[in-house]
């Protein structure tokens, strides 16, 4: 390309980019301070909208002009509501756990008096001489925000913010090349599907492009059904244009003219923001007819899923768009050859499509320089459960679990002992302590018996019973089983029955072999991946935590004291302070009575084992305890 004569695509894109950049610069460099409040779903649940309102009122009252912006999620769930304030003369500073009172304090001392309170801050977002920066925190230092780079820093409802920060450059570049070149690029980047199985994205695109049928369809799978995973939601709430751009590029590359975003119905905010993004992209000529002055036309519609986990499976997803029950069918033919309405259909996950614009705009190296030999790039994990700093974390593939759990997420709270980490949701597995040094990528997890899945990571500590965790996941898959194939429909049911019996102390030794046998049969014979992987939680816990199963069966004891049928709460008389009524007040069942000598006694008949009294008893007494097996509870 001749640099002096930009192509028509480049020219028409420049018309969008220059004003967007100007607006962004004038906001960044202008005299007015900017207040960014993270108002994604998790922020809202912690009261971010009230905080936003407080900033509005306080700045208005003070007669201050400021850019008040609702941004997406920075991924630091533990610090929500998170606010970033920048003011000329100061670096941008992040404040965690802001409430309306802190908001008014910040307006007064930072914005009016120019004295940002240090004790409240998480840190400055950029290097400076006066304040500690967030980059000194391991969480910020070790993260590598590739897909999340703009999340929490731009207004997701403003397309100009996206364009000013490198957005739609990938589309602009792709449209100046032959579609084949983009497919070649994606193939070379080694990008693998982020939805779970890890199939090569480029290969999928190629198959779809080479199938001679039209029309073709592209579907963005945003039906994030894993309990405990929320990265797709966060991406769509915080940076919807990134995924949309990936979708449009995919459409251009495979020769499709129609795209569908298949969005989980439980995500109303994501829906709202995706709809706005679609309208804005259309208005700017980035979507619709003759995109960026080319002959390429592409339309995108939003399809709201109706809440069936199995619809994450490609063929089931297609059936549900066609208005049928979302049941998978036998593959092949794969949807890339024969999908929606029998036409070639490319289905990619939100994270897969989100990576596309960067690879196209910045070249393959920007992606392949990250990650391991077989798994390139980064992975976004939703790290929750028993960790100090839960949240969304993006790291290069190949990082160890230890780094993720202990360095980035601050380890297990209250000095409890780490027991296991559950990876990949209902299709994944539980890995014990010895895997902490395992570098995670698609292959290593598979070898260990788990699965990358969509990236849900739940940390479990000594208080979590592995049998109960396996039962929980199986309960989930059993309910979500579509009922088409016998192995999954009946097999999961039988396994669940066995597990439920074991957690109630009614298990038999031979159940363990039966469980394994059933699990292996389902793995070998179920029709789709929901069924085939449903046994993973059972198989991994059987493999790594067999002793816990045995304790339940032989001793009627739950070693983690979690299974309620095998555990009782008990107040140790010698430790009870007697004049303190904390436990009595906390019990919503009125199951705690004051006995002789003012000592508190739990009525085991009334007790529902909710654990409120355990939390209420002041640590310095520590009189409430859990006992398993039940036979060890002192009588009288």
């Amino acid at each position: 390309m001749n640099p002096e004569r930009p192509s028509p695509v480049e020219q028409s894109f420049a018309k969008l980019r220059s004003p967007a950049r100007q607006k962004w610069q004038s906001m960044k460099k202008g005299a007015e301070p900017a207040i960014l409040v993270g108002t994604a779903t998790c922020g809202r649940a912690s009261g971010a909208l009230e905080v936003f309102k407080a900033f509005q009122e306080q700045t208005e009252r003070a007669g201050l002009k400021a850019h008040l912006i609702q941004v997406g999620c920075l991924g630091h769930c533990y610090a929500e509501p998170l606010v970033i304030i920048s003011r000329p003369g100061f670096p941008a500073i992040a404040y965690p756990r802001v409430n309306p009172v802190i908001a008014s304090l910040l307006v007064r001392s930072f914005l009016i008096e120019g004295d940002p309170p240090i004790e409240l801050m998480l840190g400055a977002m950029e290097e400076n001489d006066s304040f500690p920066t967030v980059w000194e925190l391991p969480r910020f230092r070790l993260e590598n925000r590739f897909l999340l780079r703009r999340c929490g820093l731009i207004d997701p409802e403003n397309i100009d913010h996206y364009i000013a920060n490198g957005g739609y450059e990938g589309l602009c570049s792709a449209l100046q090349k032959e579609p084949e070149e983009t497919i070649f690029l994606i193939k070379n980047s080694g990008l693998r599907g982020r939805g779970g199985a890890g199939f090569s994205a480029g290969r999928k695109w190629e198959i779809c492009a080479h199938t001679e049928e039209s029309p073709k369809y592209v579907i963005c799978n945003a039906d994030e059904g894993d309990p405990g995973a929320f990265m797709d939601r966060s991406l769509l709430e915080s940076d919807p244009h990134q995924t949309l751009e990936g979708l449009i590029i995919a459409g251009y590359a495979i020769g499709a003219s129609f795209g569908i975003i298949y969005l989980r119905s439980e995500y109303p905010l994501a829906e709202e923001r995706v709809k706005k993004a679609l309208a804005q992209a259309e208005e700017k000529g980035l979507l619709g007819e003759k995109i960026l002055a080319t002959d390429f036309s592409f339309r995108v519609s939003l399809f709201r899923a109706s809440g069936a986990f199995v619809c994450g499976e490609e063929t089931a997803l297609i059936h549900s768009i066609e208005g049928k029950r979302g049941m998978p069918r036998y593959r092949p033919p794969y949807p890339a050859v024969s999908g929606l309405k029998g036409k070639p259909t490319l289905i990619n996950n939100v994270k897969t499509l989100s990576a596309v614009p960067h690879i196209v705009a910045n070249g393959v190296k920007s992606f392949t320089s990250l990650g391991t030999e077989g798994s390139k790039g980064t992975m976004v994990f939703a790290l929750v459960g028993k960790v100090n700093n839960p949240g969304l974390i993006e790291v290069p593939m190949g990082m160890t679990l230890r780094q993720l759990i202990f360095d980035l997420s601050g380890g297990v709270p209250r000095g409890k002992r780490f027991k296991a980490v559950q990876i990949g949701g209902p299709s994944g597995g539980c890995l014990p302590e010895k895997f902490l040094s395992l570098p995670i990528d698609f292959e290593s997890l598979k070898e260990a018996g788990a699965m990358m899945g969509s990236g849900g990571l739940v940390v479990l500590d000594e208080d979590d019973c592995m049998v109960e965790v396996a039962r929980y996941f199986l309960d989930f898959t059993q309910k979500e089983s579509c009922g088409k194939c016998t192995l999954c429909r009946l097999g999961t049911w039988q396994m669940l029955d066995l597990l439920a019996d074991i957690t109630r102390g009614k298990g038999k030794t031979e159940d363990l072999d039966l469980l394994r046998e059933l699990a292996e049969d389902i793995q070998a014979g179920a029709l789709c991946n929901l069924g085939r992987t449903s046994a993973n939680p059972v198989l991994t816990t059987l493999r790594y935590f067999r002793h816990e199963y045995k304790a339940h069966i032989l001793e009627k004891k739950c070693p983690a004291r979690m299974c309620r049928a095998l555990t009782a709460f008990y107040i140790i008389p010698d430790k009870c302070e007697r004049s303190c009524d904390a436990c009595v007040g906390s019990c919503s069942m009125e199951a705690i009575k004051t006995g002789r000598g003012m000592k508190k006694i739990i009525d085991q008949e009334k007790c529902v084992k909710c654990g409120s009294c355990l939390g209420a008893c002041p640590p310095k007494y520590g009189a409430v305890t859990k006992i398993s097996p039940l036979s060890e509870v002192p009588q009288g």
Binding site: T41, C42, R44, A45, S46, C77, Y78, E80, G225, D226, P227, G228, A229, F230, R233, S265, E266, Y267, F303, R304, S306, G307, A308, F309, S320, I321, E322, G323, K324, R325, G326, A382, V384, G385, K386, P390, G391, Q422, G425, G456, V458, L460, D464, V469, Y472, F473, F476, C482, S586, S588, M589, V608, K609, C610, G611, S612, G615
Partner: protein, 170 residues
């Protein structure tokens, strides 16, 4: 009697207007059902019958699709719909204790509505606020760090509000 007639009329008029916007293709079944539920809060039988006739498919097929998906319900929800999150993070932090507390206090089971139609109780797979586990959603508001006593507190607050008294949040 009057009330029942009124309800039927309402469904009839609504469906007439709604169906005008929908092509007669079975592919539009799910969006159509979603629209019906958005308006009524559930899928009334009459509305499903009208939908079947419009799309040219059997009533059984409409019912088959509707029952397949978790989103659809077949009874009116309560004035205060309660959803208990059953995600993994909530589960390990005692979600079943919370759901039992709701069941006990409201004297209904998961999936039911109280006789006075004030409350309905459902479980959801994951609200996506795992850091606040365990979580319950009452109406549109997400409540984190739930406990049995907090269930009592929330119910009390709703009761007081109904009686016109205000309970300020901490």
């Amino acid at each position: 009697m009057n009330q029942i007639l009124k309800k039927e009329e309402k469904i009839e008029t609504f469906m007439r207007d709604l169906l005008r916007a929908f092509p007669r293709e079975s592919g539009f079944l799910i969006p159509l059902l979603q629209k019906i539920q958005e308006t009524f809060g559930y899928l009334p039988r009459e509305a499903m019958e009208r939908a079947a006739a419009h799309l040219g498919i059997s009533e059984a097929e409409v019912y088959g699709v509707a029952t397949f998906y978790n989103q659809f319900r077949f009874h009116p929800p309560g004035k205060h719909p309660v959803k208990v999150c059953m995600g993994t993070a909530c589960h390990v932090k005692g979600a079943s204790v919370i759901s039992e507390s709701w069941e006990r206090r409201l004297s209904i089971k998961i999936g039911q509505t109280t006789a006075d139609r004030e409350f309905s109780l459902d479980r959801v797979a994951c609200v996506g606020c795992c850091a606040l586990a365990p979580v319950s959603v009452v109406g549109a508001k997400v409540h984190g760090h739930m406990a049995p006593t907090k269930v009592d507190g929330l119910l009390l607050a709703i009761q007081l509000e109904k009686e016109g008294k205000k309970l300020s949040e901490p």
